[in-house]
Amino acid sequence: MANYVLMVIGAVLVNNFVLTRFLGICPFLGVSKELPTALGMGLAVIFVMTCASAVTNLVRTWLLVPFSLDYLQTIAFILVIATFVQFVELVMKKTSPALHRALGIFLPLITTNCCVLGVAVLNVQKGHGFWESVVFGFGAAVGFALALIIFAGLREKIDRANPPRAFRGVAIALVTAGLLSLAFMGFSGLVKM
């Protein structure tokens, strides 16, 4: 149990997917203009990444390894994740329209997001078992959501703070992302994995 807790802390803070591993940068910059959208995106990513970790682990253990097709892992993972996300969207639309409206636009967006694929590949590299994969995927996604929400909050404030003309827009956003990454460096060494 303690192992899992450490794993989550490690994935959220120490090896944050966005700020130390460089994964999922494009939604991090793209959907961080407003806090509500960032929240929706964060929730959608948590959901998809946790489930995708489980699904890819099953595909690898029951399909790729028995047929010694490890080298097809990337394409197989993309295929499975994309199908899974589409499937979830269909089910969600039927069973809970409210949740579908909240996450709807973001679900297709993150189908082949690099952090979703990244967590699947990292699970393989680290030799995680099924539950370890799920917990690691969940932790990594929470880390992504945390970074996204903090960043969206900062950008909302910066927009109102009248930065010099040359800094406005993407320039100041990138500078802020760099400083945020610097802040997260402070967590390194908190958990040894």
Partner: protein
């Protein structure tokens, strides 16, 4: 042989996934009222929210379920209303289009400032501090109204004054709700004559603070015989329920607070 296995496994996975999706699409199909899409196509798609529900899709749904009347779309106006009433077979009469106007002319060249405001670039924040203008009623020019405008109809002039371009304005009223000094008013588009001042200060005070503010001399109200412009304390206020035909009031105003600004779209 290994390549054949790879093709079979990956292709098989793809086939299974595809079949599963096709099956799921059938099982979990959500039947939507086809009228909703048709109504949505008739709406302008500005998603301004002026009808009271968030976005055109929601409004189309509400209209299809007869929860809301069909004349609430301000962006589309009479044109959309006519199309909707033909499609749904419901009779409805068009209301006159309304456009927003900023009732202040006191930009940096005309109104005095009592200091330099260096805080958050937002009118509500500046208003809470009292603002940097001498006049407590004038436009702060920080662009809060321009930011909420869904169609970018509001321009902030280089001299820091908000000006609505009536030909772009859709009359959604978001700016009027946002302005902390309640300077923006929605008026019928056929009204041309406006008193561009909201200062409730007495004449001598206004004169000191702004070169185009209403000083409450009552000349305009007298010229019109109290028809169309009435006095509210030391401020002349236009009664937008009647049309003012007498253009003389514009030249009569000693402060040039009254302007002829037609709200109609240029043909």
């Amino acid at each position: 042989m290994p390549s054949v296995i790879a093709i079979i496994v990956l292709g098989g996975t793809g086939l299974v996934c595809g079949a599963a999706l096709a099956f799921a699409a059938k099982v979990f199909e959500v039947k939507e009222d086809p009228r909703i899409q048709a109504i949505l196509d008739l709406l302008p798609g500005a998603n301004c929210g002026a009808c009271g529900v968030p976005g055109c899709a929601e409004y189309a749904k509400a209209v299809a379920q007869q929860k809301l009347p069909i004349d609430l779309c301000k962006r589309g106006g009479a044109e959309t209303l006519a199309k909707l009433s033909i499609y749904l077979g419901v009779k409805a009469e068009a209301k006159e289009r309304r456009v927003a106007i900023v009732l202040c002319q006191g930009d940096n060249t005309k109104a005095s400032r009592r200091g330099v405001y260096n805080g958050i670039a937002d009118c509500a924040a500046a208003h809470a501090m009292g603002g940097d203008k001498g006049c407590r009623y004038g436009c702060l020019g920080l662009g809060s109204c321009a930011r909420v405008c869904p169609v970018n109809a509001i321009e902030i002039t280089p001299n820091r004054l908000a000006v609505v371009h009536p030909e772009i304005c859709i009359g959604c009223g978001l700016c009027a709700q946002t302005c902390p000094r309640a300077l923006i008013k929605l008026v019928p588009e056929s009204r041309r004559i406006h008193v561009l001042c909201r200062s409730k200060d007495r004449g001598p005070v206004v004169k000191k603070l702004c070169s185009v503010g209403c000083i409450g001399c009552t000349l305009c109200a007298k010229t019109l015989g109290n028809q169309g412009i009435r006095m509210e304390g030391p401020l002349a206020v236009v009664d937008y329920s009647v049309q003012i035909e007498n253009d003389e009031v514009i030249t009569k105003c000693p402060q040039h607070s009254i302007a002829n600004r037609p709200g109609r779209r240029l043909a």
